[in-house]
């Protein structure tokens, strides 16, 4: 970057994204005010070009239906998406996502939600697919072929995101009115890709949601690899690949979350060299088979699905991540202060080792 004229007056915007997540192991519901307050503490980690939240357990009356959150620039875009939904699913209920007019949120898109089931029927071209694959295919189809974007497609969960600071987006989507047993939040400081509504975090597919601080330098490789497996990246932001990779590795290929994190952040070759023969073979195989799913570049990610919250750093820890426990609650955040803001008495606070996931599951 060229030094600006009068560089001594130049105010550099020093930021990095901020993430926050909380899970109640006993599935007790946490009011939206908690993640909102936590994200407010990390206000200066973003610059107002992206904020968002994911919440689990918010649609108990439609728990068995896929909750599609769709955004479009205009009614025509939404209509196009709705036509596709009607064609492929049974729509049980549809409604605008409740919003407030917020001064800080300018020109919001049309946002709508649909509760759908795949039922017994299939469009012929996707007849052979499992139900989940079918849902993924429809999401990809809408994102690719219409002016609308599906920003959430899981059961009993939802993502809410847009251009603004997280507290503004929370205000816009009235998140103070929701209660969830897992929340994640994100404050965006876009670096390489545009700050637009579809590019805000979380990124989701089915029940998966992901928020990310950092940048996925391997985006090109990951994106082409996913393309071979029928996942199409359309949201112009690197983090999108992580959501689809997780769906592929864990749901389709049957890896555990721990194994998936070894794919994302594998041990170094010199560490593999010191392992036992059996381990050496396993880790070498993992790196060879899933080399194109390795995430290069700095990241601290929080991954949620209906049963768990996982935090993971890149293997040389180029982004901060702190984990704290208090009774049945586990918190993960870029800064400890955001956790202290919402919970003063913590049983334990620690920074996880680079490349080692912290996986917290709800009790069955």
């Amino acid at each position: 970057m060229k030094a600006p004229q009068r560089y001594f007056d130049f105010e550099k915007d020093i930021s990095g994204c901020g993430v926050f997540g909380v899970i109640n192991r006993k599935k007790k519901l946490i009011p939206g005010s908690m993640p909102i307050a936590a994200m407010c503490t990390m206000h200066d980690r973003g610059n107002g070009l992206g904020g968002g939240f994911a919440a689990y357990g918010i649609y108990p009356h439609h728990a068995e239906k896929y909750a599609f959150h769709i955004m479009a620039d205009d009614q025509a875009g939404l209509d196009a998406a709705e036509t596709i939904l009607k064609d492929h699913f049974k729509i049980h209920e549809s409604q605008p996502i409740p919003t407030r007019k917020v001064l800080a949120v300018k020109n919001p898109p049309v946002v709508w939600r649909y509760f759908v089931t795949a039922g017994g029927f299939r469009r012929p071209r996707w007849r052979e697919m499992s139900e989940e694959d079918y849902v993924v295919a429809v999401v990809m189809f809408i994102n690719k072929h219409t002016g609308a974007f599906v920003f959430s497609s899981g059961k009993n969960m939802g993502a809410f995101k847009g251009v603004g600071f997280p507290e503004d987006i929370a205000d816009f989507f009235r998140l103070d009115e929701y209660n969830a047993y897992i929340w994640t939040g994100h404050n965006r400081f876009p670096t390489n890709t545009p700050g637009w509504w579809g590019g805000a975090h979380p990124f989701t597919i089915l029940d998966w949601s992901i928020v990310h601080n950092g940048e996925i330098s391997s985006y090109g490789i990951n994106m082409r690899y996913l393309c071979e497996h029928d996942y199409e990246c359309t949201l112009m932001t690197d983090t999108e690949v992580v959501a689809y990779l997780l769906d592929m590795l864990v749901r389709k290929h049957g890896l555990t979350r721990r194994e998936a994190s070894w794919v994302f952040a594998p041990p170094f070759w010199d560490e593999i060299d010191r392992m036992s023969e059996a381990q050496k073979r396993a880790f070498t195989a993992l790196r060879m088979v899933y080399g194109s799913a390795l995430l290069n570049g700095p990241f601290a990610i929080l991954v949620a699905d209906s049963t768990s919250l996982m935090g993971l750093n890149d293997r040389i820890k180029l982004r901060p991540l702190v984990v704290a426990e208090a009774g049945d609650m586990v918190f993960m955040a870029s800064e400890e202060s955001s956790i202290r803001e919402v919970r003063r008495d913590l049983d334990r606070v620690f920074a996880p080792k680079a490349g080692e996931p912290v996986i917290v599951e709800v009790e069955a």
């Binding site: 200066d44 040389i316 901060p320 400890e336 202060s337 202290r340 620690f350 680079a354």
Partner: protein, 249 residues
Amino acid sequence: MKKMTIDADGLYYRELNQRIREAVASGTRDFELKNVRGQRYIAGALDGKLTFLIHGTPGQDLGSFMRGPSLRVEGNAQDGVGNTMDDGAIRINGMAGDVIGYAMRGGSVYVKGDVGYRVGIHMKAYKDKFPVIVAGGKAGDFLGEYMAGGAIILLGMFSDKPEAPIAGRTLGAGMHGGAVYIRGGIDARQLGPGLHAEPADETDMKLIKMHAQAFANEFTLDAATILSQPFVRVKPFSHRPYGNMYVPT
């Protein structure tokens, strides 16, 4: 000697720091900050003999660029503590995050517990300027990376991570000055390329004893226990280890 107490609950960092700077300008020397949660740059670039007692979790770059103040944190600190600090003392009665003492050029930082990654990266010393970091717990990867001067003393005693090695990978990678002292010893494979650990000599022990005593006083610990184990030293492997790296002679 005027004293000022500020309740930082809900106070934006700019307002907090502005109030502190105004108070310093009008002669206040001692500060007690309560309910600090995430406010950045506390005591940043302040000059002179000031004291700060901080309750809570101060935000990024605590004490950055400062020259002289003494800070004590009752709680954990986040990333970038003592960034490029010139002189003064930072005492953290808890753990601290990544890049502690980044490019630090004087003064000292004591952390009672664990510290994160890249601690002491780019530390430097010149004439009477000699920065020191003491970490009572364990450290992450890249401790003392690109270090050019000063000392890091790692105790590994007050850690939350019993299973972890005392320091992570690539300790001292690219270092060309200063020294890292490690209580008890360290596995050779944790060290950066070309480095090895050797027993600390008498001069080293003088420095270590002085800081062990001060560390023990600060956190009400027993200096003799800290010194009950031998220390090893990691130093650059030559006078100019990277002199030939880019322009071979």
